[in-house]
């Protein structure tokens, strides 16, 4: 396949970067809307290029029956450290990166368009679009990274843009602390990623993804290296890398930043904290999947269980939250848990790689419907000016388009056929069933919970009792509803993409069937969840409170997010700060600083004492000189 035929993909990276610089540097000089249009136009081009690339890669250039290859459309040496150690930047194309390209550019474009309406009149409109472009650039760079180091660079850039966008309302203390929290938690996880990168590249002597995952490369032929605590070096390396991925993807117990990140503007939540950035962890595992699968299956087991437990954990919490964006945030966490689990239970090659395919499939569909749900939530918030679903009700007659699209999103995430969520979730359940019955049970339960909490949200918002609103809610402008419709379209039909032929662990297509033994029960449990939600929330009743009090402590625990934040606070404040940081700070302040201050003060005092000698008065100098000479003469003549 000719490489330079794809070299235009470099533009996909450069256009958002350019629009970021353009808006960021000159955005204050013209009307805000122009900044928005620049950013949106840039993303439109990127999206078109991405679709072109996808069509070309998956269909036009693909020879039937052969495996999809991975190749570098562009690569340049960025840092030449030694002959063995260079850091490259480039564009890597393979099934998952092309798929992610489509996801990122679609959602980003939709969010850009949507934001034109949603952010209208906001202070910092241009800044918002500059950051959105920066994020798009970073995320695309992450997706297209040719080596793990480039991925790390963009990984951090993504973190920064996430930080900037969560803290967009920087005069709001809660937004500021949420952005700090997100940054610190993910940064902490990225430390694991960095350690993992170092261990991995030390063991394999390469950063390059292609080399890493090639079947005769240093990673896959590696026997595992030195053993530490019963796990090989490669297992440790990949576990550490997974910690980085878990931090970005908000996996338990590093998920605490995600709900708070909802302080950012809703389009940001849709783009970063639902569809793209948070799936970076999944993408990372998928990117290194052959190594996980072949060299470090133990690490993959960790991935599976972390994903499974996170999805259950988040689904339970989601059932109790009242802030619609938080419900969606926990839902996101739960769905990412699904993807992680899918990767974790997958094998390598052929039909064994069902989980891999399913995870990526779910990533794809989830991006569509979760972005849809978030943008829908944004439209609701936009019209009601509240995040709390208890202050909403019976909105369906005010917001018809939002209502329909939101309903589509809910049905999709609940996994009702023939919408896309059903297909991807079904594949995951099949893969889990093949691998581990407990994980399957968890996911099966979560499927029901998902349907329940999403329809709890849906009924609470669009049905139920009419509330008193400050002003009559009104449907959002077209610029906001068109993205909703486009994404709803994607959510409905994305499931029909032949993913098992496109994105597989070894690049070769395989036949995936709907396993009715799994599909039927999963649809049934989803329907059960919907029905329960319908009965409880269709009309405002006392039933939810009764259920809550019946569940007692469990409900309270879930309502308080199982006190994970408190545990963190306890560990950091009561243990780390008190027993480590405070003594260290005391030592620093009193001993280290004290020593320095002592030296400084001594010098200062002695300087004051002797400063008189350096008066600059020539006659004083002369006086001292003469008296000194006389004294010396007396000493040498009479006293010597």
């Amino acid at each position: 396949m000719p490489m330079n035929a794809y070299s235009y993909t470099l533009l996909i990276l450069l256009i958002p970067l350019f629009s970021f610089l353009l808006i960021g540097l000159t955005g204050h000089k013209y009307k805000p809307i122009i900044s928005g249009l620049i950013g949106t136009a840039g993303l439109l081009i990127v999206a078109v290029l991405s679709y072109m690339t996808a069509i070309k890669y998956f269909w036009t250039d693909h020879v039937e029956g052969t495996a999809y290859t991975s190749f570098k459309a562009f690569e340049t040496t960025w840092l030449h450290l030694t002959d063995n150690l260079t850091i490259n930047l480039g564009v890597l194309l393979d099934p998952i990166s092309v798929m992610m390209l489509v996801v990122v550019s679609t959602v980003s474009l939709m969010v850009h368009i949507y934001s034109l309406g949603y952010m209208k009149g906001e202070k910092g409109f241009a800044r918002f679009f500059a950051f959105l472009s920066l994020f798009s650039f970073s995320m695309l760079g992450l997706v297209l990274a040719t080596n793990i180091f480039q991925m790390y660079i963009f990984w951090e850039l993504v973190g920064v843009s996430s930080f900037l966008l969560i803290g967009f309302y920087y005069d709001k203390p809660s937004a500021v602390s949420a952005s700090k929290k997100a940054f610190i938690v993910t940064r902490f996880a990225d430390l694991g990623f960095l350690i993992g990168i170092l261990m991995l590249s030390f063991t394999t002597q390469t950063f390059d993804f292609q080399t890493l995952v090639s079947s005769d490369g240093p990673a896959l032929t590696h026997t595992g290296g030195a053993v530490f605590m019963g796990l090989s070096a490669m297992t440790w390396a990949l576990t550490f890398i997974f910690i980085g991925g878990a931090g970005k993807s908000a996996m338990f117990p590093l998920h605490i930043w995600l709900p708070d990140a909802m302080e950012g503007p809703t389009p940001v939540s849709a783009l970063i904290h639902a569809a793209t950035m948070v799936v970076a962890g999944v993408y990372l595992v998928a990117r290194l999947f052959p190594i996980y699968s072949i060299v470090a299956p133990d690490a993959l087991t960790i991935v599976a269980w972390v994903g499974g437990l996170s999805s259950l954990f988040a689904a339970i919490i989601a059932c109790t939250q009242n802030d619609i964006k938080r419900v969606l945030a926990y839902s996101t966490m739960s769905q990412i848990g699904y993807m992680m689990l899918a990767l974790g239970v997958s094998g390598y090659g052929g039909h064994d790689g069902l989980g891999f395919m399913a995870g990526n499939f779910h990533l794809f569909t989830h991006a569509m419907f979760k972005a849809l749900l978030f943008l829908g939530a944004g439209a609701i918030i936009h019209s009601v000016h509240s995040n709390d679903m208890r202050e909403m009700g019976n909105l369906r007659k005010y917001l018809p388009i939002t209502h329909i699209t939101f309903l589509i999103g809910c049905i999709t995430i609940a996994g009702i056929p023939p919408l896309s969520g059903f297909f991807s979730k079904d594949e995951i359940l099949v893969a889990a069933l093949h691998h581990n019955i407990y994980l399957f049970a968890i996911e099966f339960l979560v499927a029901g919970l998902t349907a329940f909490y999403m329809f709890r949200l849906y009924f609470n918002v669009f049905w139920g009792k009419e509330r008193h609103y400050h002003h009559t809610p009104h449907e959002s402008p077209l610029v906001m509803t068109i993205p909703l419709m486009v994404l709803a379209f994607g959510a409905i039909f994305a499931g029909f993409l032949p993913f098992s032929e496109l994105v597989t662990s070894d690049g070769l297509p395989f036949e995936a069937h709907i396993n009715y033994a799994v599909a039927v029960p999963s649809v049934l449990i989803a329907l059960v969840g919907i029905t329960v939600a319908f009965l409880m929330y269709r009309r405002t009743s006392a039933a939810p409170d009764k259920v809550a009090s019946a569940l007692g402590g469990f409900y309270r625990g879930a309502y308080h997010k199982f006190y994970i934040d408190e545990v963190y606070l306890f560990v950091t404040h009561k243990i780390i700060f008190r027993y480590i940081s405070q003594p260290v700070a005391w030592f620093d302040r009193h001993i280290v600083d004290g020593t320095m201050n002592l030296i400084g003060n001594t010098i200062e005092k002695s300087s004051y004492l002797i400063k008189g000698f350096q008066s600059g008065k020539v006659q004083q100098y002369g006086y001292v000189f003469i008296s000194g000479t006389i004294l010396l003469v007396i000493i040498f003549v009479y006293l010597w």
């Binding site: 600059g616 008065k617 020539v618 006659q619 002369g622 006086y623 003469i626």
Partner: protein, 105 residues
């Protein structure tokens, strides 16, 4: 002509003149009078040289020439010093030594 005047008289005279000059140098504030004090000091030194030459080494003229050269140097020094003083006066509107306390104004 100086048969019965001892060398020490000249030396004591030059010592007193020298220290008078130093006193002036230490107590005057005006740059020009400080310069005058320096001339006094130089003159005291000159008297010393001349006296030593005359009394101790009349066979040569070293002290004589040294004095001559000192006079020449004093003239040069006075010329340059006065040029500097005039320049300082232009910048500071004063030639008092303790008011000239800035590198740049």
């Amino acid at each position: 002509m100086t048969g019965n005047i001892p060398l020490e008289y000249f030396l004591v005279l030059s010592t007193l003149m020298f220290f008078t000059g130093i006193f002036g140098f230490l107590t005057r504030r005006n740059l020009i009078t400080m310069l005058m004090s320096i001339e006094l000091i130089l003159n005291a030194v000159n008297i010393n040289f001349v006296a030593f030459n005359h009394y101790l080494y009349p066979n040569q003229l070293q002290g004589h020439f040294f004095t001559l050269i000192i006079i020449a140097v004093a003239a040069a020094e006075a010329a340059v010093a006065i040029a500097i003083i005039i320049n300082i006066y232009r910048s500071f509107k004063s030639i008092e030594v303790d008011k000239v306390n800035q590198m740049k104004n």
